[in-house]
């Protein structure tokens, strides 16, 4: 019903108390929140909880959102931070660089239906990446964000993101060699 350019309009109305406006934002961005959460944590139920928590957190914080980044960038940051918090069991991921070396945490397979075996294999390979590399791969390759956008969302730098991606791609192509 509304175009992308309406995000700012909806955000400002939501800040004025129009719950309706926020509902439209939720309908538009729930798929993004779920998708990123699923690719980060690898489990459908955890991803649903995480997406729900993140969107409620956005509502709680919307009065203070000043529009210095896009709404979607802000949501990416919230979902990513919460996913990292969950995967590191609450150890702080609020550091300046969200992609500082974090321990690995493997998760279960994706249950997608289309080309399920290949997608499951890729999901498992992504889930096996160290967290910093996983975040970079999910946001850049799966969400289509630029290196610069990923750097802003993760409060990292473009060279650091590129470095994480170099390592991740090497690992993925090696892990997926059998799927050629």
């Amino acid at each position: 019903m509304v175009a992308d350019s309406d995000d700012a309009y909806l955000v400002s109305r939501a800040q004025e108390g129009y719950l309706d406006a926020f509902e439209l934002l939720v309908e538009r961005y729930a798929p993004l929140a779920y998708r990123v959460a699923l690719r980060m944590v690898g489990d459908h139920h955890d991803a649903q909880d995480l997406a729900q928590e993140s969107l409620v957190a956005v509502w709680r914080g919307i009065a203070g959102f000043r529009g210095e980044s896009t709404f979607s960038s802000w949501l990416y940051r919230i979902v990513t931070r919460r996913a990292l918090n969950r995967l590191t069991r609450g150890r702080s991921s609020d550091a300046i660089d969200l992609l500082a070396d974090l321990p690995d945490a493997s998760t279960g397979p994706d249950d997608a239906a289309v080309r399920k075996e290949t997608i499951d294999a890729v999901s498992a390979a992504v889930a096996a990446l160290p967290l910093a590399q996983r975040v970079a791969v999910v946001l850049h390759h799966f969400e289509g964000l630029s290196y610069a956008e990923v750097a802003v969302i993760t409060r990292s730098s473009v060279p650091a993101i590129r470095s994480h991606l170099f390592r991740a791609r090497r690992t993925l192509t090696t892990a997926l060699e059998q799927w050629r």
Partner: protein, 204 residues
């Protein structure tokens, strides 16, 4: 980009990570002058394209969220919002009350049916006003009535984004009439006040 001691290089000196980046970014067929002549680079790009294909295929698949996710989010938020309630029936057998945000939603949906309306957002009485009403009605409230009863008068604020073309005041008037009629019909409210603000116009 790769650290010098970490880089894997082809016989021609090309960095494999940079070739893999080229492939992963979908630029495998955009070869520079060197790659156009170099058999090592051409073989590596072909090999890496094959290896990267499963990932590329996976990125084209977007998992869909559960259908109920949006409504679960809004239910959670609904519990955080202090609400005003309208009492539709107040008898010795009990009360029937409806949350003001439900009234706002009915109003919004009615407004969206009016031609020329692109976006309609409904807002019920603000929470600070709810607190005032709550205090004002405290002494007169029926013992069974919900907190913040306003009686059977609804006040709804609507923000509209309208389409470019139709006369704005006519669209706004049509919205006010449609919403007022809908709320009277649906909720049997005695009085309906509809404040319309047109704050955007678009050709989209």
């Amino acid at each position: 980009m790769t650290n010098a001691d970490d880089a894997v290089r082809l016989a021609c000196g090309a960095d494999v990570d940079e070739l893999l980046e080229q492939v992963a970014e979908g630029r495998g067929s955009q070869r520079d002058a060197h790659q156009g002549q170099c058999v090592h680079c051409q073989a590596a790009i072909t090999e890496l394209s094959t290896r990267w294909e499963p990932v590329a295929a996976a990125t084209r698949h977007a998992p869909q969220p559960p259908a109920e996710l949006s409504s679960l989010v809004m239910q959670s938020i609904g519990r955080l919002v202090k609400d005003v309630w309208y009492t539709l029936q107040l008898t010795e057998h009990g009360t029937i009350s409806v949350a003001a945000r439900v009234v706002a939603k009915l109003a919004r949906d009615a407004a969206r049916r009016v031609p020329g309306v692109r976006v309609a957002l409904g807002r019920s009485t603000e929470s600070r006003l709810a607190a005032i009403v709550e205090r004002a009605t405290l002494r007169h409230r029926h013992p069974h009535a919900a907190v913040g009863v306003l009686g059977r008068t609804a006040v709804v604020e609507l923000a509209l984004a309208v389409e470019y073309g139709p006369a704005v005041h006519e669209v706004a008037l049509a919205v006010r009439n449609e919403v007022s009629a809908e709320l009277r019909r649906n909720l049997e409210l005695d009085s309906v006040v509809v404040n319309v603000t047109v704050d955007d116009v678009s050709t989209e």
